[in-house]
Symmetry: C2
Subunit: 149 residues, 2 copies
């Protein structure tokens, strides 16, 4: 069943599954988007403030996005306006498993586009020790089944 | 010259250059991190709210990160605590050129780590028509030349 803006219930929480991140993909991402030593090179990372290789925080956010998309394929999203309060709480390291949970915390009509509704989603990613790694609040948009007149 | 936390001047603005994004890398990123139809498939995107293929907002943020890293290699960053007020203002489309500018807007000692100072950086990415595409405020950390006693 395709789900639209009208079908969102505030308070609904989605288990978006988990993902084990490898050293190879941490380095591959860093080479393209965030080539800092502590994301690229294990030896250099050991001497850094972070004490070892860690995933780019942007990659951690992207991994959450992938889990969100995979677990909400029946919903008609239409992009997002932005993100508030993104926090990198703990490093994500090679071999860590990121588990993602997302809650719809608010919804309201979009004042510009009658075919769209705004939804606010809170995402938390935790590691295999159930410690929070990342959290943020996304300002999403969804298609309406029935555009506002 | 290596630049540390102590060397940051609030108000300093860095021109982080520009980058032309291709359709191929928009699709490649989307396949891995954000597989929604309007990031993956030109035909499907035409029928969507966005009216054509657009880069994932997360990819747009990652492209800004890359420009930031490339243009601040002399500075000793130590990761980031998070991001506030990330806004996707306009879509970034295939063939668009993203120009990135980053300003140091605040600095203060880190209360937990004497070897680290906190810096706040405002980043804006604009397209080839000088229209804002993305903006955010990053809560960065930098190494101190002299740790606090």
């Amino acid at each position: 069943m395709t789900r639209y803006y009208e079908d969102v219930e505030v308070g609904e929480t989605i288990d978006c599954g988990s993902y084990e991140v490898t050293k190879e993909e941490i380095v591959e991402f860093a080479e393209k988007y965030d080539p800092q030593p502590f994301h690229l090179d294990e030896e250099a990372a050991k001497d850094s403030f972070l004490g070892g290789l860690v995933a780019s925080g942007w990659q951690t956010a992207c991994l959450c996005m992938r889990q969100n998309v995979d677990h909400m394929r029946d919903r008609r999203f239409a992009g997002a306006r932005g993100v508030d309060d993104l926090r990198w709480i703990r490093p994500l390291r090679p071999g860590d498993t990121l588990s993602v949970e997302t809650e719809f915390v608010a919804k309201e009509p979009n004042e510009t586009y009658p075919a769209i509704g705004n939804v606010t989603l809170e995402t938390i990613g935790r590691n295999q020790r159930d410690e929070p790694v990342i959290s943020y609040r996304a300002l999403g948009m969804m298609e309406r089944r029935e555009p506002i007149e």
